[in-house]
Every structure is written in C-alpha cells, then in structure tokens.
C-alpha cells in the first residue's frame, strides 16, 4: 500500500473517532463473554467470527496510529501496521458481521461491534475494495434522487398497474385514489421498497384505516448504510427527508426494512416529522379500532422473527406481538426475550450481495434454522425484507417446511369491514 493511500485511510479512520468509538476501542478486556453471542461463531465454531476477534482487527490499527501504547510498545497490544493484508482481514470481518448487535447485549461494557465494523467498512470504501454491487446500488439510489423527472413517468405508470391488486384486498370508496402519490399536506408519507409486495398490502391497510397518506417516490432501502459509507447514506436519506419536508407530512412510515427504519428513526437526528415503522402504524390502527382483523384466516401455528434493526436496535417489540395476537390464537414465541433473538444472518448487506454470500449465509446461520425448527410453527412471520429473504433461503436450505410471510401482508389478508 502506498503512503498516500495509507494517509487517506488513516484520515478516514480518525474522523470516525468520536467519544463512543474511543470508549469501544479503549475498553475491551478480551474477557470472552461475547463469544457465544455471534450466530456466525455459534454456527461454525470459528473464532474469527467472534465479535472480540473482529474488533481486535480494527483495534490493532487504532493502537498503532492513535494510541501511545501502540507507538511506544506495539508488541503489548499486538498493534499492527496498515497494509494490504489488513484490508483483506477487515473485509472478512466486516462482511461476515451482520451488525445485529447481539454481542452488545452480552458484553459487560456494551461494546458495539457494528460501530467498530463501520470503521472497517469505511476503510474498505476508502481503499475501493468494498463490495462493488452495494456501491453501485447506492449510487443508483442517489442518481434517482438527483434526476427524479426522468424516473417519474415510469414510476407513476408502474404504480398505477398495482392499484387493481390493492383493491382486491380492500375496496376503496368511489373517487378515492388507491395509491396516492405526491399529496401535499398528507398526514403520512409511506416509504416502500421497489417491489409490489412492499406496496400492495400496505396500501390496502392504509386505505382500510382511512389514512390520509401518500407514497414516496423513493425506496426506503439504504445501500449506503450497508456499505458503511456515511456520505452515500446521507445522500440517500436526504431524498426522503426533503420529500417529507416538501409535502409537509406529519409522519414518515418506513416499510418492512430494518436498516431503513433504524437509519431514519435513530441515526438522522431530530426532524420536523415523526418516524414510525409500518408495524407500529398497523398496531396503532388496530388499537384505535381503525382496522379489524379476521382471526380465522390464519389457522396454522405462527411464530415471529424479530428483525435485529427493528427490535433490539429499533425498539419495536411489543407492537408486532400486539398485531399477532389479533391475527391468531395460535402464536408461539421464538425466544423468551426478543433482545436475545438470533440474527437471521442476512443483515449488513449480506442478502443484498445475493448469491455471492449465499454459502456463508447458510453455514453461519444453522443456529437460526435450529431456532426456527424448535418453535414447531408452520408460519414464520417477520417484518424486514432482508430477514424475509434470508429466512426463505434458510427454509429451502435446511428444509424447515415453514411458510415465510411478511407481517404486513398477513394483516392485509385478514382485513375485515
């Protein structure tokens, strides 16, 4: 690695060193309490997948370049020089970590591995060795924000085509727009994903609840966050924030996408609108009597997978159960305490990277497959796109014989007048 690149990378590293990050890098006692927390270690038994091992890779650089100990006596803490080999190790550590933060629950100090891995991911971006696909997808999202006019027409036509399927689930009143777009002064802006499955059921439920809503032009998913690039993350986010401000909406509702929800809810700072997940909003409709659900639709045993970014890291836990208890009497918990739920193994951009990560996703998540199997449920519901895809893959790979469903679709299918 040439000196110029090294200096640039170390500047990126330095910019990441806020107080919390320094706490995390200064403190690990390497006590090993967190080892069993990581699904990748629990499934494979390989120490390099323990969270402490992952952070130690970043910590060695921290010691070398930002700490007196590493300068005076590098051997004590195994401080390490930044070189090409290090970049390879960082890639392995960062793209085998889903950022689920389950290990943070175990650590006596609460060290946040996802945050430490964000340094690794940023260095990879700096060295242009990050997964190209993620950057490409992020750039496409940004491009869409810049030249909305080009995309607008085809987007509107595409949406129009979905209206029939929404009406099949919920017949709107005459004269009502089935999927409203660009509504100035709407109460709620719904930010969906690109697929119809993320729009149709949600639209039916909004219409059933009589919500004054509007659909965002942009998809919620933030590939910038997956690839750990703060600039791209913000650019992608800003498209939605400025749309919400322009339309003067009171609430931004994020579809079933864990990362999109957490980034919007917790990582953007105060905004003039409220941020909710679709699970929260649908639970609210039931509580307020705005929608009613038919319990006879779902007859098999149902379990629920708490998406890490929505439950443990996002705080939406009881709402999902509230909905499920209105959908079925046949609900069984996957874990006693949702903050201990095993990650599905698909977060942090791994699912978005598709086939490339499939083998790893399957081997690193056998513990998840076991957990699902133990519930004995026939329907596996969840509220995150990534989790849904990964759980579907696990279902095929481990022959779990479950039906993986989105919670919001289950709600839409059970709507009654």
């Amino acid at each position: 690695m040439d000196e110029k690149t090294k200096t640039e990378l170390l500047t990126l590293f330095k910019n990441k060193l806020n107080r919390a990050m320094r706490y995390y890098l200064d403190t690990c006692t390497r006590c090993g309490v967190c080892t069993k927390a990581c699904h990748a270690y629990a499934s494979t038994g390989q120490v390099r997948y323990t969270s402490a091992y992952r952070h130690e890779l970043v910590r060695r650089l921290y010691k070398k370049y930002f700490k007196l100990q590493g300068k005076v006596w590098p051997a004590a803490g195994e401080a390490k020089v930044l070189e090409d080999m290090t970049i390879k190790e960082l890639y392995d550590a960062a793209y085998s970590c889903t950022g689920c933060r389950r290990c943070m629950v175990y650590c006596p100090f609460g060290i946040d591995t996802q945050m430490i891995m964000s340094i690794a991911k940023l260095l990879l971006v700096g060295a242009s060795t990050e997964p190209e696909l993620l950057t490409m997808l992020a750039d496409m999202s940004i491009e869409k924000g810049k030249s909305m006019d080009v995309f607008k027409e085809s987007f509107l036509t595409g949406i129009k085509k979905l209206e029939g399927q929404v009406v099949e689930k919920w017949r709107s009143e005459a004269g009502e727009t089935v999927i409203p777009i660009d509504v100035d002064g709407a109460d709620l802006l719904y930010v969906a994903l690109a697929g119809a499955h993320s729009i149709i059921p949600a639209a039916a439920v909004f219409n059933a609840a009589g919500e004054h809503w509007t659909l965002s032009f942009f998809e919620a998913v933030n590939f910038g966050a997956f690839v750990g690039d703060p600039t791209r993350t913000t650019l992608i986010l800003d498209r939605i924030i400025s749309e919400a401000k322009r339309l003067k909406v009171k609430e931004v509702c994020i579809c079933e996408c864990g990362t999109a929800f957490r980034v919007m809810k917790h990582l953007t700072g105060p905004q003039p609108f409220k941020v909710s997940s679709i699970t929260e909003v649908q639970a609210r409709y039931i509580r307020e009597g705005r929608i009613r659900l038919d319990k006879s639709i779902v007859s098999d045993t149902v379990t629920y997978h708490d998406p890490c970014q929505i439950a443990r890291n996002g705080g939406i836990i009881d709402e999902a159960r509230y909905i499920l208890h209105h959908l079925t009497d046949n609900y069984t918990e996957m874990t006693k305490e949702p903050k201990y739920n095993w990650c599905c193994g698909g977060g942090g951009g791994l699912v978005a990277m598709g086939e490339e990560t499939l083998d790893f996703r399957m081997t690193s998540s056998s513990i998840k497959a076991d957990q699902v199997r133990k519930t004995g449920a026939k329907i596996l519901s969840t509220a995150c796109e990534n989790c849904h895809t990964q759980l579907g893959d696990l279902n095929d790979h481990y022959k779990l014989g479950v039906d993986v469903k989105f919670l919001s679709s289950m709600v839409a299918d059970a709507l009654v007048r």
Partner: protein
C-alpha cells in the same frame, strides 16, 4: 543493593504515581473533547430510570452472571477483594471512622482478602489459555494479570506472615511511617522496611505495583473508569 531499593521505594513510586494520575487525566481529556455520537446507541427494550440500570450493569455485571456464571463469581469476588484492599491501603494513610464501623485490624480480612485475590487472578490467567479466549487475548492481558498477581502475592505474603505466622519484624507502623514520609515529600525508609528479613517482599510488592500503575492509563484497565459511561450508552 540499597541504592536499588531506594530507587524502587522512592523515586519510582513518585514517577509511577505521577504517570498514573497525569496519564488518566490526559486520557479522559481526550475522550471528553471528542464529539459525542450523534445518534443513540441504545439496546431495546429500555428500562427506566436509565441511569440506575446503567449503574446496575456496571457494578453487578448481570450479563456475565447470565452467560458465564463461574467467571461471574470470580469477577465479583475479585472486585470486592480489590475494593477491600484499596480501603486497606487507604487506612495506612490515616484512620477512617467510616471504615472502622466494623472494627478491624489493618489490613482487613486477616489475610483472606489477598488470598481470594490471588486465586481469582490465577483463575483469570488460566482461563485465558483456553480457546476461544486464548485467540482473542493479546500480551497486554497476560502481562496485567501477571503484574497484579505478583503485586498481590508479595503484598499478601507480608500480611500472611504477620497474621498467620506471628512474624513481627515489619509492622503496620513501619509501613505507615514510610508512606507518610512519601506523602509529605520527606522520604524516609524505616530500618525495618529495608533491612528486615521480609523487606524484600515489600520492595517487590512496591516494584510490581509501580509497574502496574505506570501501565494502567495506557491499557484496557481504563475499563474501570469507562464502564459506567459505556453502560449508560447501551441503556440510552
């Protein structure tokens, strides 16, 4: 030899104390000057009051109790014993009514505190040699445990000698005289502290303690100070 003993017991003690205090202050200033994280780092569900739960997490290590119960027993014993020894050393400087609520001789615990600490340290050391903790450990971790073990061993040995073997050449009064002379910047080494049969224990105890203090601010031992703010971050 006497010069070496003098260096260890006087200038090195001053240097270690200075590095310890100044080092920690610098570390804390660097941390406090760094910008706060712009967003929450909380884990859910949350429990209130958050501060109280953060204190609970910091001092009772509930996650260790849950996931590594044996380690937890040793950790709790270790930290309590460490606290008692700290109080014991404070009592060498002056008599505190507060600590004498339960009347005791100096040091507290009649030698068992040191013994507990030594056993805990051996446990910590040996568990590091086992996978997967071995793979994540770095030399610093072994070194700190070893330094602490040696410090405690030689320190306790003096205590054990007095309480268990009726050894009386080196008395608490001698330690007091030595420590106070250091505090008032008129270093004086009482005869017993350098010439008695057990004085080499004291010298070694102080030597390893000095090294420990010097290394403290630059090592993972900062967890003793940072644990509370970190746990607060997790609690939100």
């Amino acid at each position: 030899m006497q010069t070496l003993i003098y260096i260890i017991m006087v200038p090195m003690v001053y240097a270690a104390a200075a590095i310890f205090v100044v080092g920690i202050i610098i570390r804390l200033v660097v941390l406090l000057r760094a910008p706060a994280n712009p967003s929450t780092l909380q884990i859910y569900p949350e429990k209130r009051p958050k501060w109280l739960w953060a204190i609970h997490d910091t001092f009772l290590f509930p996650t260790v109790r849950r996931h590594k119960p044996v380690l937890w027993v040793f950790l709790i014993l270790f930290h309590i014993a460490f606290l008692l020894l700290f109080i014991g050393h404070l009592e060498l400087f002056a008599d505190f009514q507060l600590t004498q609520i339960i009347a005791h001789d100096i040091f507290l615990g009649q030698g068992f505190v040191g013994l507990t600490l030594s056993i805990c340290l051996l446990f910590f050391l040996f568990r590091r040699i086992k996978s997967p903790v071995r793979e994540i450990s770095v030399p610093e971790d072994y070194l700190l445990l070893l330094l602490l073990f040696l410090t405690v061993l030689f320190g306790s040995q003096m205590d054990w000698a007095r309480t268990w073997y009726e050894y009386g050449e080196l008395t608490v009064e001698d330690y007091r005289a030595y420590l106070l002379s250091l505090v008032v910047l008129k270093p004086d080494l009482p005869f017993a502290t350098t010439f008695s049969g057990h004085s080499f224990m004291l010298v070694l105890h102080i030597f390893f303690a000095n090294l420990f203090l010097i290394f403290f601010p630059f090592s993972q031992l900062m967890h003793s100070i940072l644990s509370l703010p970190m746990n607060k971050l997790r609690r939100g």
